[in-house]
C-alpha cells in the first residue's frame, strides 16, 4: 500500500514537473522560433480585392512566439485572421486571442478585425486563400464567403 502511494505521489510529481515550462529551452527556441511560423503572402489578383491588409497582418503577427500558422483574408471593410498556437500554449488561448485582437485593432483602425484560433476557421481561410491565389473567386463571392466564416466563428452552440 505504501509502495502504491509512493508511486502515485511520484507520478503526480512528475506530472507537475512535466507541465512546467522549460525556460532554458524556451529561450534557446526563441532565437529561431519565428522561422517555424507558416504563412503565405497572397498576391493581389485582378478579379478580387487586394490582400494587402491581410499580408501586413501576417507580418505583424509573425513576430510573436505563440503562433505556429497564420491565415488571413480581407475585404474592403473586414479582416479575418486565423492563427494556430503551439499545443502547450492552448491553456492561455483566450488571453492570446484577446491580446492579438487588440494589437490588430490598433494596427487596422478602419477595419473590422476578427481573430480566431479555431481549427475550422483555419481550414476555411486556407481554402479561401487558395481560391484567391488561383484567381477563382470574385469580389462578391469573397465578401459572401468571409461573412459566412465570420458568422461560423461566432457560433457558440
Amino acid at each position: 500500500m505504501k509502495a502504491v502511494k509512493a508511486i502515485l505521489l511520484f507520478s503526480f510529481g512528475l506530472l507537475l514537473i512535466g507541465c512546467g515550462t522549460d525556460t532554458t529551452q524556451e529561450s534557446i527556441d526563441n532565437n529561431n522560433y519565428n522561422n517555424h511560423i507558416e504563412f503565405n503572402q497572397i498576391t493581389a489578383n485582378k478579379k478580387s480585392i487586394t490582400q494587402d491588409s491581410a499580408n501586413q497582418a501576417k507580418e505583424y503577427l509573425s513576430v510573436h512566439d505563440e503562433v505556429n500558422t497564420i491565415h488571413a483574408v480581407n475585404t474592403s471593410k473586414k479582416l479575418l485572421i486565423a492563427i494556430e498556437v503551439p499545443h502547450h500554449e492552448r491553456f492561455g488561448l483566450a488571453q492570446i486571442q484577446k491580446d492579438r485582437t487588440k494589437d490588430m485593432e490598433d494596427k487596422f483602425p478602419n477595419m473590422e478585425v476578427e481573430i480566431s484560433t479555431d481549427k475550422k476557421i483555419v481550414l476555411e481561410l486556407e481554402r479561401i486563400e487558395e481560391a484567391l491565389e488561383a484567381d477563382s473567386i470574385s469580389k462578391e463571392e469573397l465578401e459572401k464567403e468571409l461573412d459566412k466564416v465570420i458568422n461560423l466563428s461566432k457560433e457558440q452552440t
Binding site: 502515485l8 479555431d118 475550422k120 457558440q156
Partner: protein
C-alpha cells in the same frame, strides 16, 4: 468497516474481522489505475477523432463540435450496451469506462433495458435515471458552486 464500529464489536467478531483481513484478496489498486487510465484515455482519443471528423467534413467549429461528438459517443455506447459488450469493457477497466460520458450513457441505457419489462411509463420512464440521477444532481450542484466561486473571484477578487 469503519474503525469506530469495529471497536464496539464483540471479541469473537473482532477475531473474525482480523482473520478476514488476513485472508482477504488484496485489490490490485495500481493495476486497476493503469487499466482505467489507458481505457479512459482510449475513449477520449476516439472522442477526439470523432470531433476532428466533424470539424473537417461538416460545418462545425471546435466550439460547436462538442454536442454531435457526445451524441455520437452515446449512440455507440447504446449499441455496445445493447449487445452486452460495454459491460465487459466496464468489468475490465472500472473507472476508465465509467468516468467519460460513455459511462453515463451506459448507466441510463442499461437501466432502460432492465426496466423494459415493467412497461414504458412506470418501468423505463421512472427508473431510467435511477443510477444517473445522482450524477445529474451533484453535477449541477458542483457547477453552481464553481460558477458562484468564479463570479465572486472575477467580480470582487480582481482576477
Amino acid at each position: 468497516m469503519a474503525d469506530k464500529k469495529k471497536k464496539n464489536l464483540p471479541p469473537e467478531a473482532q477475531t473474525y474481522q482480523a482473520f478476514q483481513d488476513q485472508r482477504e484478496v488484496k485489490r490490485p489498486l495500481l493495476k486497476n489505475c493503469i487499466k482505467a487510465f489507458f481505457v479512459g484515455g482510449l475513449i477520449c482519443v476516439i472522442g477526439q477523432v470523432i470531433t476532428t471528423f466533424y470539424i473537417y467534413f461538416f460545418n462545425f467549429t471546435e466550439q460547436t463540435a462538442g454536442s454531435p461528438t457526445v451524441s455520437t459517443l452515446i449512440f455507440i455506447t447504446m449499441l455496445l450496451t445493447g449487445f452486452g459488450i460495454y459491460d465487459r469493457i466496464g468489468q475490465f477497466s472500472g473507472a476508465g469506462s465509467a468516468v467519460p460520458v460513455t459511462g453515463f450513457g451506459n448507466a441510463v441505457i442499461s437501466s432502460a433495458i432492465e426496466y423494459r419489462t415493467e412497461g414504458f411509463i412506470l418501468g423505463v420512464g421512472s427508473n431510467m435515471l435511477k443510477l444517473a440521477g445522482p450524477v445529474i444532481v451533484y453535477g449541477v450542484f458542483s457547477a453552481f458552486v464553481i460558477a458562484l466561486l468564479k463570479t465572486i473571484l472575477t467580480n470582487w477578487g480582481g482576477l
